[in-house]
Amino acid sequence: MTTLITLIVAAVTFGTVLMYGTLGEILTEKSGNLNLGVEGIMYMGGTFGLAGAFYYEKAAGAAASGPLAIIIAIMAAFASGMVASAIYSFLTITLRANQNVTGLALSIFGTGIGQFVGEFMRVSEGGYVALSNNLKESFSAVIFPDFLVGIPVIGNILFSHTVFFYLAIVIAVLMYLFLKKTRYGLYLCAVGESPSTSDAAGINIVKYKYLATIIGGGISAIGGMVYIMTTAGCVWNHEGLSGVGWLAVALVIFCMWRPLNAIWGSVLFGAMMIMYLRVSIPFIPTELYKILPYVVTVIVLVLTSMRNSRDKQPPASLGNNYFREDR
C-alpha cells in the first residue's frame, strides 16, 4: 500500500512536468499547428526559469521570498516559450515554411539555447548554479495545511503535491472551458479543423493561429522549468529533461486533444516513466517499461484511425499550412 502511494506521488511529480508540455501542445495543435519544437521549448523554459529564480535570489539576497521566486521563474519560463514559439509561428504562418521541418529546427535551436545558457551560467558563476535551500524548499513545498495532508491515503494522494500540480489542473480546466464553452474557443477549433471554412466565415485565421501557438508554447515551457525546479533539485540537468518534450507530444495524442484527459493521462504516463525505479514485475525487463508510453500511444493512434469516429480525431488541418491563394 505504501509502495503504491509513493508510486502515485512520484508519478504526479513527473506527470506535472508532462502536463504543462501537453496542455501547451494541445492548445497549439487545436489551431492546426503541429509544433514539434516542444522539446526545445521545454529546454528553454527549464534553463530560463532557473536563471530567473537564480538571478532574482542573487539580486535580493537573503530577503528573497519564495512565492515571488516561483512567480519570476514561471514568468521567465513562459516568456522564453513564447519567444521560441513566436519564431515558429512567424516561420510557419507568415512565411509559410513547412511545419515539421520548422518544428524540428526549433527543437535543435531550443535544446542548443537551453544547454548553452545552462552551461554558460555554470561557468560564469564559478562552477555551480543552485538556489539556497530556503528557496529550493519553497519550490517543492506542500501548499495544503498539515491536517489535510495527514488524512490517511487520500491526504498523500491528493494534497501532498507542489503548487505547480494544482496550477496545471487549473490551466487544464480553464482550457477545457475556453475550448468548449466560449465563442473564441470554438472559433479556434474551427480554425484547426478547416481553415478555409473559418476564413470564409470571417474568422481572423492568422490571429488565432499566432495566439494559440505562442501561448501554448509558453505553457509548454513552464513544464521544463517545473522539471528543473522540482525533480532535478534546482540544478540544470539536460539529461533528465531530454525526451520529455517528445513524450508530451505523444501524450497529446493519448489524450485525444482534450485538456481534461491530460490530467489523468500525464499522471499515468508519469507512472509508466518512473515505474522501473519502484516496482519490478517479473519477466518484464525494467528497460522495457520506458517504451510503454510510446507503445500505448501508437495503439491509441491506430485504434482511433481505425474506428474513425469523428470526435476522436486529430484536428483535420493538423500539420498543414493554410494559404488563402492555394486552392
Binding site: 544547454q115 548553452f116 517504451i291 486529430p314 493538423l318
Partner: protein
C-alpha cells in the same frame, strides 16, 4: 486618401512566376550569411570575438587532414539519412522516424557482428550486416506506412513514436541480453572482421553514401517509381485517377527509405562506433530531415548542406576546448541557419508589394 487606397493592405503578396537561377542562389547564400551574422549574437553576449570564433570553427573542422576526416565522418550519416528521407517528403509522407530506422538497422547489423563474426569471412559478414540492417530499417518503416495506407493513420506522430520504441529496445539489449561484462550496461566492441575498412583514412561508408546520392538522383528523376512518388506528392487523387495503387506505393517508398536509414545505421555501428548503444542515432534522423528539406530534396545539394552542418558540429567541439564556448553553440547556429534558410524560400516563392509603390504607379 480615398477609401479604395485604405482598403489596400500595407504589404501584399504575389506569387513569383519565374526567378532566375542566379537570383535564387543569391537569396539562399544571402540567408546563410544572415544566419552567420545572427550567430554572432550568442558569442558576443558571452564575451567572445565572433570572428575569432568562426575562425576556430573553420580551423577545427577542415584545416588539417585529421580534422577533415572527422568532419566527413560526421557528415556521412547526415547525408545518407537525408537521401533516405527525400522520397518520403517528395510524396508528402512526413517520415520523422529515421532516428528509429537507423537504430533498428544498427541493431540487426550488430546481431551479426556479435554472434557471427567468427563464423563468416570478413567481406561476406559486412554484406550480411548491411543487408540485414537495410531489411530491419525497411520493415520498421513499413509499419507506420501500412497503417497510413490502410487507415490513414497520422504518419508524423506514428513514426515519431517508433523512434522511442526502437531506442528503448536498444536500451534493453544494452542492459540485458547483449550486455558484455555484467553490470557494465555496455555491448562489447565489434571484432575487427565486423568493422568497415577505411579508404583514405575514413571508413568506406562515404563511398556507399556517394553511390547512394547518384542512385537516388536517378531513382527520383529518371524512373517510373520516382515519377509515381512525385505525382502522389502533388495530388493523391490525381494518382488514384491515373490508376496508381497509392497504398502500395506508400509502403514501397517507405521500405526503401527505411532500408537506406538502416544501412546508415550499419555504417554508424560498423564504421564509427564499433559498438551499439541507445544513443546510436544521436539526433541524426532529425537533423537529416532539415538537410533534405533545405536541399529541396536534391541529392547533390544535400552533400553541401550536410557538410556545412558537419563543419559546424565538429568546429564547435574545437571551439569548446579552445575558447570555453559551450559546444551547444553548434546547435544554436544550426537552428538559426535552418530558420533563415526556411524563411528565404518564402522570398523565392513570393514577391512583396508595398502600398506606396502602388500609389506611384497610379499617379504615373
Amino acid at each position: 486618401m480615398n477609401t479604395a487606397e485604405n482598403r489596400t493592405p500595407l504589404i501584399r503578396l504575389a506569387k513569383r512566376t519565374e526567378m532566375s537561377r542566379r537570383n535564387m542562389w543569391l537569396i539562399r547564400v544571402g540567408s546563410i550569411i544572415i544566419a552567420l551574422i545572427l550567430g554572432c549574437i550568442p558569442m558576443l553576449l558571452t564575451g567572445n570575438n565572433p570572428f575569432e570564433a568562426y575562425g576556430v570553427i573553420i580551423q577545427g573542422s577542415v584545416s588539417r587532414p585529421v580534422y577533415l576526416k572527422q568532419t566527413i565522418r560526421t557528415a556521412i550519416p547526415l547525408l545518407g539519412c537525408a537521401l533516405a528521407i527525400a522520397p518520403c517528403f517528395k510524396m508528402k509522407f512526413w517520415n520523422i522516424g529515421a532516428e528509429g530506422q537507423i537504430t533498428m538497422g544498427a541493431v540487426f547489423a550488430t546481431y551479426f557482428a556479435l554472434f557471427w563474426s567468427d563464423k563468416i569471412p570478413h567481406g561476406l559478414l559486412l554484406i550480411i550486416m548491411a543487408l540485414s540492417g537495410a531489411i530491419a530499417g525497411g520493415l520498421w518503416a513499413v509499419i507506420p506506412a501500412f497503417f497510413k495506407a490502410k487507415w490513414n493513420t497520422n504518419e508524423t506522430l506514428f513514426t515519431l513514436m517508433m523512434n522511442y520504441i526502437a531506442i528503448g529496445i536498444v536500451a534493453w539489449l544494452q542492459g540485458g541480453p547483449w550486455e558484455g561484462r555484467k553490470g557494465s550496461q555496455l555491448i562489447p566492441m565489434f571484432s575487427d572482421s565486423a568493422r568497415l575498412p577505411t579508404v583514405f583514412g575514413v571508413n568506406c561508408g562515404w563511398i556507399i553514401v556517394l553511390v547512394l546520392v547518384v542512385l537516388m538522383y536517378i531513382y527520383m528523376n529518371k524512373t517510373k517509381q520516382g515519377y509515381e512518388i512525385a505525382v502522389i506528392g502533388d495530388s493523391v487523387n490525381t494518382a488514384r485517377y491515373a490508376g496508381m495503387n497509392v497504398g502500395w506505393i506508400i509502403v514501397r517508398t517507405m521500405f526503401i527509405s527505411g532500408a537506406i536509414s538502416g544501412v546508415v545505421g550499419f555504417i554508424i555501428v560498423s564504421g564509427a562506433n564499433f559498438t551499439l548503444y541507445s544513443g546510436v542515432a544521436d539526433g541524426v534522423g532529425f537533423t537529416s530531415i532539415t538537410v533534405a528539406w533545405l536541399s529541396q530534396l536534391n541529392s547533390f545539394a544535400m552533400i553541401a548542406i550536410s557538410m556545412i552542418l558537419a563543419i559546424l558540429e565538429k568546429g564547435s567541439n574545437t571551439l569548446q576546448t579552445r575558447m570555453e564556448v559551450p559546444a551547444s553553440i553548434a546547435d544554436i547556429i544550426t537552428g538559426i541557419l535552418l530558420f533563415c534558410m526556411l524563411s528565404c524560400e518564402f522570398f523565392i516563392n513570393y514577391r512583396l508589394i508595398f502600398r506606396h509603390k502602388e500609389k506611384k504607379e497610379v499617379t504615373a
